[in-house]
Symmetry: C2
Amino acid sequence: MQIMSARRYGQFCGVTRALEIVGERWALLIIRDLLVSPKRFTDLRQGLPRIPTNILSTRLKELEEAGVVRRRVLPRPSGAVVYELTEYGQQLDEIVMALGRWGAQRLGEPGPEDIVTEDSMIMAMRSTFHPEAAVGRNVRYQLNLGQIVIHMDIDNGDLQVGSGEAEDRDIVIEAGPAIKALMAGEITPDEALAEGSVKVTGDPDLLKQFAETFYI
Amino acid sequence: MQIMSARRYGQFCGVTRALEIVGERWALLIIRDLLVSPKRFTDLRQGLPRIPTNILSTRLKELEEAGVVRRRVLPRPSGAVVYELTEYGQQLDEIVMALGRWGAQRLGEPGPEDIVTEDSMIMAMRSTFHPEAAVGRNVRYQLNLGQIVIHMDIDNGDLQVGSGEAEDRDIVIEAGPAIKALMAGEITPDEALAEGSVKVTGDPDLLKQFAETFYI
DNA sequence: CTGGATCCCTCACGATACTG
DNA sequence: CAGTATCGTGAGGGATCCAG
């Protein structure tokens, strides 16, 4: 008789159950990246450079078993394996974004070893979007952070965030970690431009609109 | 120079930061219980019987350091030590409730070792409350689950959940794990009463109202 | 090259005993 | 009551290897 998996909490409770499913180390970060798009094993590794492959492998199996992730083999000739969230897994979208907003309040300066990934930025932009500031507007932002390029398309107040350059962009914002200071209200758009920590190509007023639309 | 704490994820990201703060094992369960009320060390142990005391001790220190929990010594003559959430910690309320709703969808039958605690039930009732089903209503439910007795007071559509018996209660609901089956829609109130897995003292129609107000 | 499996090592966690 | 001390175990970290 199986006494009790040591990793269980021994309570009949929703929170407890949730943590047994996605509370293990790395699990919610895998889900964060899969919320952006389905991915191959190697793509997940790139988005989480410090995860050991055996842990990634184990987590994917556990999440698949729990019905959070689905492993899918693409049809020939590709034959590639992709991992994607089930509908149940997609339900974590709001929770992961809320956690991101909560944690962002304690993001100080990036450490020397800290990296920024494309998927984490896409989720960050989605989670800090304030629809009430964008009602009825149409704008296309492109954001360059070193190698990372993403775009935010606001169509009639609706947000779409994606990888790569924006088509017909209204403004290109180029920044480093200062983008967080700007979005956290630690500096104003004017200050950011003045000190050169944020550069724009296009109407600088759009940077103000940006900061009023995306903030913690 | 401190290279990097092994427990860090090495990313400059809100989700990552959040998980570094509350992602360790047991942390969110401690917070779940503190969301209900401030507690002493021993109270926390009772609500989390399987937590080793050194882990509880360590987590409390980490959470205090992160500004999530505050350790407070009550004034004389009590002199007791209580742990309570800071305002930053309170912000986890919605997240913990959302996790509870998400995990509750995968709560099967309770295992032989599974226990139910008062605080977890209080959070479960808060998180499954559907205000739109209670607008303008005034009801006082008492819920007995073995030793555990809690009450839900709906005052003009507003919910307050607390420990112990309800004053001027309209109905006492007595149940076991079947309360979850009822709230998950796996059985109807009529079936629950018919098979005896739920018993009521008071108007049985109030049990239907209950199931329409509190559900996953 | 993708998608892992395997190995070894370390440290966080778990169980229990003990103390101011 | 409110924790600390001790020690064993297993999950996680890191490197390497392997099959398709």
